[in-house]
């Protein structure tokens, strides 16, 4: 399957779920999709198109909480990024960890650092943060404020 055939196939198959299709460069395609259809599309790209799941990245963009799921198709030298925009007040999305295990840890990391709730994740507990870190404080959110009264934020000179 060539690049054009593959992209046309994705467009046709998921025409109801795709909100925006941005063909940025020969190697990079961004597909903005509805949050409710992430499992369906990720499963198709991973299982049927035999893509490799690279990583997912979470971004707090002030208007939305964004997640980008990056998939590589090595035979075509193509990187497909599925973008979902979630509500900042209550970011929730269905977990893709039950489909492929590589998503397990990155979803745990996004949930503790950005406060995104992954519904159906097998083991959604802390991955990196220290034990004394308070619940409900997410350090990578744009409105994060210092909670530790003992922290020293100068160089002492």
């Amino acid at each position: 399957m060539t690049r054009e055939e593959l992209l046309a196939d994705i467009k046709k198959r998921f025409s109801d779920d795709i909100m925006e299709f941005f063909d940025r460069s020969p190697r990079r395609v961004y597909i903005e999709i509805k949050p409710s259809s992430i499992v369906k599309i990720a499963t198709y790209i991973f299982k049927d198109l035999q893509a490799r799941f690279n990583i997912a990245s979470g971004v707090d963009s002030r208007t939305h909480m964004e997640i980008l799921y990056h998939f590589t198709l090595e035979p075509l030298n193509l990187l497909i990024s599925l973008r979902v925009k979630l509500d900042r007040k209550n970011p929730r999305i269905e977990s893709i960890a039950p489909v492929f295990r590589a998503a397990n840890w990155i979803e745990r990391e996004m949930s503790e650092l950005l406060g995104i709730d992954f519904i159906g994740h097998p083991n959604l507990k802390r991955l990196l943060l220290a034990d004394e870190w308070p619940q409900g404080v997410y350090p990578l959110r744009a409105d994060y404020e210092e909670w530790d009264k003992n922290a020293i934020r100068d160089r002492g000179v």
Binding site: A130, E132, E146, D148, G156
Partner: protein, 141 residues
Amino acid sequence: MNLKLRALLRSPWVFHLSTGSCNNCDIEILDCLTPRFDVERFGILLAPSIKHADVLLITGIANRKSTIRLKRLYEMAPKPCLVVAIGECSLSRGIFMPSYNAPVPVDKVVPVDAYIPGCPPKPEAIISGLVQLIQKIKGTL
């Protein structure tokens, strides 16, 4: 001068601890131990365990998780134990100063005897720092 400390200065055994560094300082420490710079001529040897060590070398920021380990290691060290902070991160936290995960610098966690600045410090700087530490303890500096 403390008899134990004087005996220690003949051949200080160092224990190298990275509390979350980027590994550049660790590479420079490794350089010091190789034949080109060869700190063994000052009797300095790398100890495999903190229980055998006289000097604790710290590289990297003391983050929320490694601070606990750093404190525990310092308690396990036979006293007198000298502490050397190597690199900008362990001195003032460098660019990680406003980081949510780096609340305090290393010298607020354990007492530090010598600071070696640089990002990373050159092997010459590390050797100079260690020699100055020995001279400081002897009282000749």
